[in-house]
Symmetry: C2
Amino acid sequence: MVELQAQSCEACKIDAPRLTDTEITNLISEINDWDLIQEPVKQIKKIFSFPDYQSGVNFLNAVATMADQEDHHPELVLEWGKVTVIWWSHKIKGLHKNDFICASKTDNLYQN
Amino acid sequence: MVELQAQSCEACKIDAPRLTDTEITNLISEINDWDLIQEPVKQIKKIFSFPDYQSGVNFLNAVATMADQEDHHPELVLEWGKVTVIWWSHKIKGLHKNDFICASKTDNLYQN
């Protein structure tokens, strides 16, 4: 199995199928502690903590740079000491494998 | 009258009084198109638009730098083409003059 973080996002067209619940269950087991949001569309969300403001800013910038490279852009919420990351695929109003690839890369950026 | 953007945040202690509704009405008239949020605590919120992702990232960083200089940290939400900025004073669970000073500085950063 090729690890998610080693993969790249593929172009997600508006008619691409959303992941099934079984596919989501399998993929979410490959990433660490992301919450599955059901409404208004399926999303995956995780809160990352930091000891100071600048560390959170640096992490947000690292995720934003990765996101732009993948041409897949999450919602990023910066507050003092924490960054909330939410991935979903706007074009299909739900979850695509791309979201799990990017979640895995996000975890990797936090570890580094 | 000293313009808001020319002022600096003062230390906001936990027993500092929240602004009254009249004070909020007066101060919100000095800033451009910020929405007053009532729940769960009073906040002021504005969405800034951008033609591309990197411009939004740059603006978020400029606001974050200003916020850290003022030692007053907003909620900043980055999405493709937009940044949402929400100011309030955590310690008093509501609005303080500091929030309007920082909102004015935020507008100034957007114009520049």
